[in-house]
Amino acid sequence: MRPIANTRSAAGIPTGRLAIWWVVGSEIVIFGGLLASYVLHRLGNPEWAGYAAHTNVWLGGTNTFVLLTSSLSAVLAHKAAEEGDGKKAAKLLYFTCLGAAAFVCIKGYEWTTEIKAGFTITSNTFWSFYYTAAGLHALHVIAGGIIMLIVAESAKRNEELHRVEVIGIYWHFVDIVWIFLFPLLYIAK
């Protein structure tokens, strides 16, 4: 069910890729707005360093490692899709999804320990931002993982291979957001 409109590329790149860049653009302002709000408060309240000391840099670092590795598998999946190897692309996408799942599990464990220690979302505004920013990011991780599963389903039959690159670009963006969240929430103490 693809209209002819979808197959044209007057702007010089395929339609799917053009669209995902606009998605990434709008997501930059969403996360940017939230993180800018956080930074404004954080810079204006140096005492928040005391609260931030309780975040676990090792779990955060592990999650960074997980996402960087899943970005690698996502771009390798794109390379495989370009070479026409749908099965390999699908396998690599499944591995990336595994990374998404690992990320969410580690975060779940991390949050559980923090909540048990008494640091809930309503403890103070630092923790409100912490859970909101990381939570919004985690929602994007979950959404990305689900979409990757759908793309992999078609890819393993060598269908719609161009979608591998498109979801890859989204995934790299999710990775980049975390690359900035990590120092903001875990290192700047």
Partner: protein, 574 residues
């Protein structure tokens, strides 16, 4: 810069076969769950119109209260202070998010963009369908908020905390949250739709259609979508934060617990100001199309108009805090925002000059759409110049939150959302339905709307300058404002409103009899216009063009001396 991929003949042929499969569509797939951009446009149009009726009914109720305070309003009941707040809040919210945006951007954008750029549908028809479904859900959630315990949210469409964040202040705990969820859903719908529009306009143009051959209304809707995408982000973040303040007990905006309510204001207005340009640009685009067609003249300075629009778009991000001059912002920022606000009047004025220059020397036909387009220009100018008073922070110390502001933004929003919508609707009705509307009824409706409109809002400028504040349900206890002279003005404005609402019946009657006509008397191009949508049949079939057109020239080739006809359509070879 752009390489244009030509759809080859084989592809076009495939399209034939492909579309033949679509011949028999069930009622559900054609009308309820369509992916065809034209049908989705109709869905947005009628939902927007229905919401306009609701928003209009709200105006009726609260204006009756202001004119005849304390008296039960027929067909509504008593307008208490709480009900008044909910009415004005939801009137504003509905008119901007559920009338102006769906009609001007989603309906006209969906209908016009594929037709005007010469392709068969949007690039992502199923995402298009999804965006309408999310939009419809948002409308349902908003209307539901009126019927829950406590009633609809009443904290102003601007929803400043702590009033909007704490149920013990707003008295509308559930209503406030539903309002917020509805607005958030509407944002998601328009983000999805916007990506579709921008990608389609960038990529799916007809072969031969270069960037400067694109009709202005398509540019305007695309730029508006980009402005929306770039500005709504911080407010989405803010809406998430406010929702949590309302329901989980976080304190993002609670000063008692380390939050900052001014942060909400900034998050809101960083979006709120570009938003007014998001709705303005499509209305200007619609007027441009109409003015060129009915002056039989090309747009005076197409590229200047376009570059000016880009400049306006960028500048619109630098003026937002003029809504917060007396909120307690840093006065040095107030200086900066005054300068940028006054600056932004210049490009808009330039665009108005371009309209006037386009009309000058043209062969003007005062059809109904042309009357609406001209009224847009004239009335919007009044709105624009009154904005200059408000942009100067010193004057704004007095004017802020008075009816002067209200009259200013109605002199801008009404031309945008109502006049612009009627202009577009009467202009493209023949294309949408294959039949001509009745000109006489159209003109009666026009004058019956415009004259009362001015009678409503000019008194409000006077009242505002006299110090009458907004969002107050009765002035009986304000001795300086309760004098008969002013109360007479309130009554006058309200009666003008009733007359204006009455004349809308003429419009609905016109729509009904025109739509019901047996004869398809419009033909493909009743206005003898140059752009590609007039090449298609009226109404266009699924797939729009049996043979996708090629574009050979710019969009406003009127008055070419070498031609017998006074117009040169874009799709005809030289």
């Amino acid at each position: 810069m752009t390489e244009i991929v030509q759809p080859d003949a084989a592809q076009a042929h495939d399209a034939h076969a492909h579309h033949a499969d679509h011949g028999e569509q069930s009622f559900w797939s054609k009308y309820v769950f369509p992916t065809d951009h034209k049908m989705i446009a109709m869905q947005y149009m009628f939902t927007g119109m229905a919401m306009a009726l609701i928003g209009g009914f709200m105006v009726y109720a609260f204006r009756m209260q202001l004119a005849f305070p304390g008296i039960e309003v027929p067909m509504y009941g008593m307008v208490t202070a709480a009900k008044y707040n909910a009415l004005v809040t939801n009137h504003g919210t509905i008119m901007i998010f559920w009338v102006a945006m769906p009609v001007l951007i989603a309906a006209f954008g969906n209908f016009l963009i594929p037709l005007m750029i010469g392709c068969d549908d949007m690039v992502f028809p199923r995402v298009n369908r999804l965006s309408y479904q999310i939009f419809l859900l948002s409308a349902v959630v908003l209307v539901a908020s009126f019927f829950v315990e406590g009633g609809g949210f009443g904290g102003g469409w601007t929803a400043y905390p702590p009033l909007s964040a704490k149920a013990e202040y707003s008295l509308t705990g559930l209503g406030s949250s539903l309002w917020l969820v509805a607005v958030a859903l509407e944002f998601v719908a328009f983000l999805l739709g916007g990506i579709n529009f921008v990608t389609t306009a960038m990529n799916a143009r007809a072969p031969g259609m270069k960037m400067f051959d694109i009709p202005i209304v398509v540019w305007m809707i695309v730029i508006a979508s980009i402005l929306f995408m770039a500005s709504v982000g911080p407010l989405i973040a803010g809406a998430v934060m406010l929702f949590m303040d309302q329901n989980i007990g976080t304190a993002f905006f609670d000063p008692d617990k380390g939050g900052d309510p001014i942060l909400w204001q900034h998050l809101f207005w960083f979006f709120g100001h570009p938003e007014v340009y998001v709705v303005l640009l499509p209305a200007m685009g619609i007027s441009a199309e109409i003015i060129c067609t009915f002056a039989r003249k090309q747009l005076f300075a197409y590229r200047t108009f376009l570059y000016t629009t880009f400049g306006t778009g960028v500048l619109s991000f630098t003026v937002w805090a003029h809504h917060q001059f007396i909120a307690g912002i840093d006065p040095r920022m107030a200086h900066i925002f005054t300068i940028t606000t006054l600056l932004i009047s210049i490009p808009i004025a330039e665009m108005i000059f371009i309209y006037i220059a386009t009309l000058y020397g043209g062969s003007i036909r005062l059809t109904t759409p042309m009357l609406w387009a001209l009224a847009f220009v004239a009335e919007f100018m009044i709105g624009g110049v009154t904005g200059i008073f408000l942009g100067a922070s010193g004057a704004d110390i007095y004017f802020h939150d008075t009816y002067f502001v209200l009259a200013h933004f109605h002199y801008t929003f009404f031309p945008i959302a109502i006049i612009g919508a009627f202009a577009g609707f009467t202009f493209w009705f023949p294309k949408m339905f294959g039949k001509m509307m009745n000109e006489t009824l159209g003109k009666i409706h026009f004058w019956g709307t415009i004259i009362p409109f001015n009678c409503i809002f000019i008194p409000l400028f006077v009242l505002g300058a006299a110090g009458q504040h907004r969002r107050v349900y009765s002035y009986e206890n304000f001795p300086d404002l309760a004098i008969p002279h002013f109360q007479d003005m309130r009554v006058f404005a309200t009666i003008a409103l009733l007359i204006m609402l009455g004349f809308q019946l003429v419009f609905f009657y016109n729509c009904f009899i025109s739509w019901r006509k047996k004869e398809m008397d419009a033909g493909n191009n009743p206005w003898r216009s140059t752009t590609l949508e007039w090449v298609a049949e009226s109404p266009p079939p699924h797939g729009n063009f049996p043979e996708l057109p090629h574009c050979y020239r710019g969009p406003y080739e009127y008055g070419n001396p070498d031609r017998e006809e006074d117009y040169f359509p874009q799709n005809l070879p030289a």
